[in-house]
Amino acid sequence: MPEFTLTAKPFLGGYSRDFNGTTLTEATDVSITSIAQPLGGREALAKAVQSAWGCALPTPGKTVEADDGHRMFCTGPDSFLLTGPALADPAGDAAKALKGAGYVTDQSETWVTLRLSGPQARPALERICPVDLHPDALPAGAFARTVMEHLGAIVLAEGGDTFTLMSASSSANSFLHAIEVSLQNVG
């Protein structure tokens, strides 16, 4: 057996900062799994998802809340993201739950997840996010894929002044910098 172990470190070291009442925090307690629907397997997947997480398949641009703190995003006609609590093997668990009704890939390490909350959240995002964040346009539970400062991103409206932002983990520092600068510019 090897004489040492590896330790997981959050991409931004568990970043958390308060900008005059608006907080920006790295979410380190999430797992992300992609689920692809096999060709012609819509019904089987819907059934499997219903029994695994107690929710229906979401429609594009929408998310649904599911059992045990999970949330399912529809990212395309046949593709979904499942977010949930941090698990040792989220993709393995999902594969077991779906019993072959969907193709799963662990995406927990691919994305960095930030939570932005507070009165300056919208004004700050206005500086980098082309998506309309008005509650009428992006109600709670809706999300959009977009580009912020050249970086592909997902913005999820959690309701009120809270947003979950996801972007590629390799550019996590640049993504964080873009949001920090926005908060400083509007604060």
Partner: protein, 845 residues
Amino acid sequence: MSQSNRIDGGLIDRSQTLSFTFNGKAMQGHPGDTLASALLANGQRLVGRSFKYHRPRGIFTAGSEEPNALVQLRKGAHQEPNTRATTVELFRGLEATSQNHRGSLNFDIMAANDLLAPWLSAGFYYKTFMWPKAFWEKVYEPFIRASAGLGALSKVEDPDTYDKGFLHCDLLVIGAGPAGLSAALAAGRSGARVILADEDFTPGGRLNAETLEVDGMAGSGWAAEAITELASMDNVRIMPRATVYGAYDHGIYGALERMTDHLANADGKPRQVLWRIYSKRALLTAGATERPIAFPMNDRPGVMLAGAVRAYANRFGVAPGKRVAVFTNNDDGWRTATDLAAKGVEITAVIDTRETDAQASIPRASIVMGGRVVDTAGRKGLTSITLANGQTIPTDCLAVSGGWSPNVHLTCHQRGRPGWREDIAAFVPSGDLPPGMSVAGAANGTLTLSAALNEGRAQANEAVKDLGFAASRKAPPKAEDEARETSAFWHVAEGKRRAWLDLQNDVTVKDVKQSHAEGFRSVEHLKRYTTLGMATDQGKTANIPALAIMAEQTGKTIPETGTTIFRPPYTPVPIGALAGRSRGKDFRPYRLTPSHKWAEENGATFVETGNWLRAQWFARPGEQGWRDSVDREVEMTRASVGICDVTTLGKIDIQGRDAAEFLNKIYANGFAKLPVGKVRYGLMLREDGICYDDGTTARLAENHFVMTTTTANAVLVFRRMEFARQCLWPNLDVHMISVTDGWAQYAVAGPNSRKLLAKIVDDFDISNDVFPFMGCAELTVCGGTPARLFRISFSGELAYEIAVPARYGRCDDPGADAGGRGIRRDPLWHRSAWRDADRKGPRGG
């Protein structure tokens, strides 16, 4: 200097005094002043020198159309040239200096150019600097460059910051004058999301400059109440100091908001924000610009537009002169005489080009109907005017009105052409508007107040109804329609001296005639040949009179002559604002591998590959250059073992019943028969047979593959495969998702690589028999961390690639080094190792 020209009234806060300097001279103004109004209040008429002849020039307008009063603001690195004093909001400690002179503003040695005027006419450069040819680069161009231009750059990096942003609305109202306010109120009350943008710092437009009443109160008071009501609506965003400068596709508008320009200290906040506004509908209520009449020697400080003179008196409490004369071809010019007379300013004369009855009786003023100004006097400021009837009238301010031109600019940004309206002698928006745009108020040629208020409301209601909102039923604000009869009188033919059209570029009536005589008759040629309508003001006051003169010359009508094309931006946008925060290291984002921090601490030199920063080599003390480091790394790898972070290579997870068949089609070589647990090198070709990308693909399970691509092509390969999956072979069951960022992957190469890996794998046999060349496996390392191991090599020797989830792949903890204890090892420099490998086998990049 005291504020000798300050009079009662105005929208300025006299309880506070702001000190500022102009050319080092201490002056005072009040909050609510522009730099221009404060300069006039302090009796400073001479504010700059003209572009070509270096003639003394004063303030001509009271808005963004200003051609003359260009000044430099602030000092040192913050210095900003070519700002229009008429739009600069006064703040305490503002430092302004005049520009475009050698020597002082009062004694400019370049003014000698004025004596050479007969030789400096239109096309002067093209005719003069032709010979000898060799002189162009060495003599003429440096000379012209030194003499030309207005302000000077600081030549140091701009220390201010800028930002950008995105806004969304149902209705964008462009301009907060009477029509815009009326429109915003109507749309706001309907519940639609409204953005009201105005270039001024005090919304209200001409309501602030006139004495007209709305709903029985002063127009400026009504405007302030309207803003208060709008500010109370959650669905309305009011953006003062924001110029909508361009109309782009799909209802997108560009706007520049000046955030801290009016503050002495920006406090680290961005100076300006460049907004991209996504609108469902837009209403242009940008008002109109007054135009001058060309008459001999009409460029002296003290000659101003009549509406501007009125704005200074009514809005800023400043009399631009002690004895004011008015020269007009329309009813509106008379308002200047009546308004100023009512404030106790002496009106010496009203000269109307029309042979009609006087519009008003002005005490002690001589009224000259059918009159013309044929000459003026006063080198550094107007002292008198001479009329065609021979009469000379002492005056220090001549208010000129040649009628009003609707600000049609944004209606033409998508190639629309304005149409001509004879009754107001002006171009108005034609039906050919950018999609989703409508126009109301003076911008639409609706020049009178009541009509503008009604039209703004009606157009807004139509727009919101179109979007499904119920229009507000509240009655429109009440006002009168003022007299606005105008005549098409463009220039005074009498008199031999120069009559200026474009004050900013020193283009005279004679230049336009000369351009015509020399064959440059199209308006676009006229513009280039004479420089008419160029530079910071883009001819906002000059173009229409010049077109009228060209039309006279060609014998065509003005609409036949046409306008030059209107292009964004409406007013100047600093390059800094266009760049936003994309400066220096923030020009683009960086992708970092999990070992980045470790590499930094260990002396890595990085190379940019796409957005990635990749370690190139690791210098050690005593090494003289990159070659020393590289040679050491190569030698180490050949002799023992080297490790290289290959995380940057694209990784695509591919699953599906038809994944193998799909890969078989994607790659030029066969993949259908690749056994589970094996890796194969693959080559992708373009349709024309040229190599597109290459890499290895591992079969982890019957229906599960993981592909690697080159670093720079990862996104392109993914995109191409998505295209193939969705469009070429939609009947195949195959799905893919990027896992590039998900795995920290290291190449381990060299004769000791197996020995090194044996120290970290958990109960996994990596002997050659069990895990041969081109094998792959999912396993655990370091006591349970999931990993993937590939026996692939870019050096043809014993080598592996090992991947762990990215969060485990960080080498910045001491444990990471422990694995190699007792084995000679070094980080491996990609390029040298792979160049070496080129001779023996495939390589990737």
